[in-house]
């Protein structure tokens, strides 16, 4: 598991370069990605539900991105996008195609709904944290 988290860190940091993230934020983005994957693995260990694990991990990643964005006074996107990447259901896409190719329609449908659920979990995680921080800003303004 430690190896997986370390590779999540490396992968996210390298990946953020593909999005032209400024140099000074690369380590932070890598940390967000590594932490997100760590939470995902922890949640997977305890409840074995991918969508729930995705929800927990997205929640933490979004929270950290918002905090880092406040600290560095940059847009939240800087940390949110690299951090979310390990959680994006690329595996689901592969499994859908694989099942289709080998005519396993049942499992293809299964993977399709699982992928949808995971994407929905990511959306929900981001949504909750975004709303929370927006509420804080609105409160400050009043």
């Amino acid at each position: 598991m430690i190896i997986q988290v370390i590779s999540a860190f490396i992968a996210t940091a390298a990946f953020s370069i593909l999005f032209y993230l400024p140099k000074k934020y690369i380590l932070n983005a890598g940390m967000a990605g590594g932490l997100g994957w760590f939470i995902y693995l922890l949640a997977m260990n305890s409840c074995k539900d991918k969508a729930f694990a995705n929800l927990c991990a997205t929640f933490i990643v979004a929270l950290i991105s918002h905090i880092l964005a406040r600290v560095y006074k940059t847009p939240v996107t800087m940390f949110l996008i690299p951090g979310i990447i390990p959680l994006v259901p690329g595996a689901g896409m592969y499994q859908i195609v694989h099942s289709f190719l080998y005519s396993e329609i049942d499992s293809a449908a299964n993977y399709f709904f699982e992928t949808l659920k995971m994407a929905g979990a990511i959306a929900l995680g981001i949504f909750v944290v975004d709303t929370f921080f927006r509420a804080m800003i609105n409160k400050k303004k009043n």
Binding site: A8, I10, F15, P22, I84, P86, V88, G90, Y94, I126
Partner: protein, 257 residues
């Protein structure tokens, strides 16, 4: 105050942000903030993924308005960051509008990383993603080789083929075909992990994240546009993988028979 220059600056800021993959509300917010420094009454901005328009009006002046079509969107977070910083400086009165305009032009033309670094990053990230999904060292190395192939295909096709859909399909096709070939020659490798790790650089991370945030913000036009963008990219990748694996299947059968 020269309203024309101010307006040009705001439009340029919006253009760079929209081109670099910023969320729609950020594009609008940045432009509104810059235009509001004029203290005029009528400030209207509308932004979408494919275009930006704005109007600056007041009873005392001739209204200025402009429509700008956005083509060639490339995800570039450091440009978003820089434009964000410049607009903050304008609002705080730290720099003049003329300076800001020059800085924006510089930001638009700045190359953050060289092609070589991007290539290295692609290779490292595919290898890293294979490790993230629980692959062994050999899996990571094969995924890294796939990363190199993604870079090479991008270089060959990037200038010749206009459609991103076909480029993505070609990339994932070669990933799948090469990985399946490797399974013949090397024992104990996990083709699933390698393929999933290698397609990660193609996966539409920015469109997905922005689709969610735009939709929840109430920008339904941009939200759906980005969701469709993400969907089309995913379909391109899946078709590529499907063809790659089907192609290998065919070869396998031909050689067995």
């Amino acid at each position: 105050m020269n309203y024309k220059t101010l307006f040009k600056t705001a439009m340029l800021a919006g253009e760079i942000m929209a081109q670099s993959g910023a969320e729609t509300f950020r594009v609008e917010d940045t432009m509104i903030r810059i235009l509001k420094t004029s203290n005029l009454q009528g400030v209207q901005v509308y932004a979408a993924t494919t275009g930006v328009m704005a109007t600056l009006s007041d009873p005392n002046i001739e209204p200025i308005s402009e429509v700008l079509r956005i083509n060639n969107r490339v995800n570039n977070l450091s440009r978003i960051n820089e434009v964000n910083q410049i607009s903050r400086d304008i609002c705080d009165g730290m720099i003049s509008i003329e300076e800001a305009y020059d800085k924006l032009i510089l930001a638009r033309n700045k190359q953050t990383y060289s092609r070589f670094i991007i290539a290295i990053a692609t290779i490292v990230s595919t290898g890293g993603f294979a490790g993230l999904f629980g692959g062994s060292i050999i899996d990571c190395i094969i995924a890294a080789i796939n990363g190199l192939i993604i870079v090479m295909i991008g270089k060959i096709l990037g200038k010749r083929v206009e459609s991103y859909f076909m480029i993505d399909a070609a990339k994932s096709f070669s990933i799948a075909a090469i990985t399946m070939l490797c399974t013949v020659f090397i024992n104990n490798i996990n083709s699933e992990i390698i393929i999933i790790g290698s397609i990660m650089p193609l996966v539409p991370g920015i469109p997905i994240t922005n689709a969610i945030r735009d939709t929840l913000q109430g920008d339904y036009m941009s939200g759906t546009a980005r969701a469709v963008e993400a969907f089309v990219i995913s379909v391109g990748i899946t078709i590529g993988i499907g063809f790659g694996m089907g192609f290998f299947n065919l070869l396998e059968r031909m050689f067995v028979l």
